[in-house]
Symmetry: C2
């Protein structure tokens, strides 16, 4: 076979795998949204079958042979090292503008990952995960960590085994965790995480303590007079007293009005309903079912209207990324997000930096008030803005404010690292958790259900996943600083609801690349910098310094 | 492999095929209901892949070998004749109560059908069908039969080829059409169709002419005084004059109220929303996505509230059948309806015999009126009942009343038969159509768009499919007569909204069998009779005789 024909064949195989994965994603989406309750059993069988077929397609020996044939450098280096793969990047002639070099590199990565895991390991792990998740549900309900501990030990052992299959941890045990981090965030390691998260954690804790000394954003001194929305000076936070700050955000907000408002905001932000959907599910998520089909979900809580709205903006950010890939990447393994961290940078940029900002709310607050006139009676812009950005360290990660959120993640990172380097046993995890909460957030859970048992991730063996949430904040603000340099009028544009320049910039710099550029390279190409917490900290200090007056 | 192990293996292969078919059906359902407009292209690729995989599973040579091993009688008879297959029926030991004999017979039928068609024929036919359907859309829009004729000729030729692959038509040309009929209705032939449809067509035409002599059901003499709903004597049709009969059914009925009413009726009839759904699509349909997941759709027309409602009851009948199979048949080729005709017997029984009947509407009419008080102001039960059952021969099949509907089908059957026995050329089809309409219904289309071009079926090569609609009416009334013998109080039960005895009877006699009993046998086991138009005619004569006074 000549090279062009071999490439076509490989692309066809890859395409079939993508279609099968998308088909599985469609079944999954339906399961979370519209499946009749009694349909779950058959659905599990249908999904297992499709996922198995997608795995078979990826690990088809033909794929390996074609990869070797097309990418001699990688073939000569059986470990598929970065050096061997890099040689192929961009050097291969692309017929229709398709980036064949990147394709071979990324597909090689997927293929190697998949074939290195023996089928019986995959099966055993799937079974253990099912049992572990069920045990976690029960343990959290019963506040019984001891009952969950053996499952957690098993999942740690299995993930260690997985990382070793992939080739990590041959030497020092610490490197095993690198393998898990690299899976979610290509090129990321425990060493780079420590170097970043250590100082970040300290600085955030300090900020938190400083804020805790204040009584609340509404009563902080020196923030100027209260002002009506849109009027001059409205950018300054007011001094109007707020009996029970944010109490108006806990009133009853009807679900259908919430949904209508969410749709309006999502559409206003530029979400194309011809290429996606918004539906309801128990937990918000985004899924990509085709090149022109990205769907997001949320759920509506009567006493918390901003929860649905911010989750919609968050998931919308994921969807913008997915829908922004270069059309030439369509239906290939190169379409889609390059990493969890870059994905979170987009969702958090839209949700927090834009969505919880003053400029964004300037045009939207009057409409929000119009949608909920009773609930927001007498609430002015400044009061609303402050209530939305109240900092209050608490026990539960998913409820955390923008400032303390990363501390929840840093704690989890440290614990994960210690579980895998052998310095922390599962039985000692609850105590370590509580101590960490005290150290970073100044609060301590009364029991394990609201402590170490709160997240589902570990029960599924998803170690190395949490750090991407914090990475998303860092990447996001690095991108945002650069975007503000390139587009100095961003806040004015936001006040005029002109999101087009932001979309253009993000698409050009990030979205269109899909999985072609690994996170570190993408970041450097866009910002000229390496990963750093500086921009994120500057952003927090400016925003909360003004709100809390320090 | 011993027999038990071979059977298990064959069941596993069959199950995988069923799951793949269900997965394809889920993608199809999503396409018709929730797919974002720009998602269609990728969806076509995903579907083609899944359907191809399901076909591969069915035609896996392993399936053939296992069938031969397990069913020596059929193996010795390579044509897989009825005699050879019958020997296996029920003679094989069933481990868990699973009817192995029936399974081997039905799977053999599916397998033979599939392997007899060469892959390149299937591909060519799929391509031709796509072109033909597109040409039909254009031809109907432009009222240009000549532009569509070459495609129709091609589809006739391809279907003839298909029937010959299956083994029909070795001798006389007429038998080719038998192959197509047998595909939709196992065991049915052109000869049996002619014997039934000939006299039925004559009798229905006569009835229609008799009714055409009357001015309308509301003004027919001798039907007693008008009565208010639910009161004594309300069973009699009234004599209240009706300026523009049924005009109140063409007023504006809001879609969301229509939907709410449809849901209420569907649930009231016993549809289990834990095992199915009702959604909206361009054309109503039912699809089965798992043993506990049957979904129906409809669409709401403001000026025709009964259109959505009757389509919901119709599709609900299909869903009851699908959901009623014996659990032991779950995820096997034996679950699901045995034929198009038996399926239509269930949908038409619920839609027409029950849903357009007096007893059914006794409790539902007051609620319908309550849902649409403005639109139905001053309309009494009798007036409503008569409007709903107005007979009026018209050009379009899908709009036809219960009495003239079968005539539309009989015409199509006759034309199909002649296309395949060579006595009618495609070019002569429009003239033959118009003459047939005149003969059977006394109306003639002004153009081909509202004549021979009105249905999509032929453009897709679906010949032999139409007769199942008329068969459904016949089977349905044969079942209904027997049901009334077994359950004498059915009308009283309907008036009390007690549908349980009907469901119990249908499940016991029909639903639970799935594909185990072929139509003729099923009919005989239930009614002790062979296929006949008698019960259907008796039903129409009684119902419309009373309405129109003849």
């Amino acid at each position: 076979m000549d090279k062009a024909a071999a490439l076509e064949r490989l692309r066809a195989l890859d395409r079939e795998r993508m279609y099968l994965s998308q088909a599985a994603a469609i079944l999954q989406w339906d399961q979370e949204t519209y499946l009749p309750p009694e349909g779950v059993e058959d659905r599990a069988e249908q999904l297992a079958l499709l996922e198995g077929l997608a795995h078979e397609k990826l690990t088809d020996p033909q794929v390996g042979r074609l990869l070797d044939e097309l990418d001699p450098a990688a073939a000569e280096d059986p470990a598929g090292s970065a050096a061997g793969l890099k040689a192929a990047d961009g050097t291969f002639p692309a017929a229709d503008g398709f980036p064949a070099g990147d394709f071979l590199r990324v597909l090689r990565r997927d293929y190697d990952r998949a074939v290195k895991l023996p089928a019986d390991f995959v099966r055993d792990r799937a079974r253990a995960e099912g049992l572990s998740q069920a045990a976690w549900v029960k343990a959290r309900r019963d506040n019984d960590f001891a009952a969950f501990a053996p499952h957690l030990e098993k999942m740690v052992a299995l993930e260690e085994k997985k990382a070793r299959y992939w080739g990590w941890g041959a030497g020092a045990a610490g490197f095993v965790y690198d393998g898990l981090l690299d899976f979610h965030e290509p090129g990321f390691s425990a060493a780079s995480a420590s170097a970043l998260f250590g100082p970040l954690g300290e600085r955030l804790s300090l900020l938190l303590r400083e804020i805790a000394g204040k009584t609340g954003p509404s009563q902080s001194p020196g923030t100027g007079p209260s002002a009506s929305p849109g009027g001059p000076g409205a950018d300054k936070t007011g001094s109007s007293s707020l009996a029970g700050p944010g109490a108006f955000l806990r009133r009853a907000y009807g679900a259908s009005r919430q949904e209508a408002f969410c749709r309006r905001v999502l559409g206003g932000l530029g979400f194309d309903f011809n290429r996606g959907r918004l539906d309801t599910s128990a937990h918000p998520f985004t899924t990509t079912l085709g090149f022109n089909d990205a769907r997001i979900t949320t759920r509506y809580a009567a006493g918390d209207p901003l929860s649905a709205l911010f989750s919609v903006i968050h998931e919308g950010g994921h969807a913008f990324y997915e829908l922004g890939a270069d059309p030439v990447l369509r239906s290939s393994c190169l379409a889609g997000g390059v990493s969890m961290g870059i994905h979170e940078s987009q969702s958090r940029l839209w949700e927090n930096v834009i969505g919880r900002g003053r400029a964004f709310w300037r045009p939207w607050f009057p409409r929000f008030k119009k949608s909920f006139p009773r609930q927001l009676e007498g609430v002015d812009f400044g009061t609303f803005y402050r209530a939305m950005n109240t900092v209050s360290p608490s026990l539960i990660r998913v409820d955390a404010d923008e400032l303390s959120y990363s501390l929840h993640i840093i704690l989890r990172f440290e614990l994960e690292q210690r579980l895998f380097d052998g310095s922390l046993r599962v039985s000692a995890l609850p105590a370590a958790w509580n101590a960490g909460m005290k150290k970073y957030l100044g609060v301590e859970p009364a029991n394990d259900a609201e402590g170490v048992l709160q997240d589902v991730h570990w029960s599924m063996g998803a170690f190395g996943y949490f750090p991407s949430y914090a990475l998303g904040n860092l990447y996001g603000l690095q991108f945002w600083e650069k975007l503000n340099e390139d587009l100095p009028g961003v806040n004015a544009a936001l006040e005029k609801e002109d999101y087009a320049p932001i979309h253009r910039w993000l698409r050009e710099k990030i979205y269109r690349w899909g999985r072609r550029r690994e996170p570190a390279r993408l970041l450097e190409e866009v910002t000229g910098q390496t990963l750093s917490a500086g921009p994120f900290l500057r952003y927090l200090e400016e925003k909360y310094g003004e709100l809390y007056g320090f």
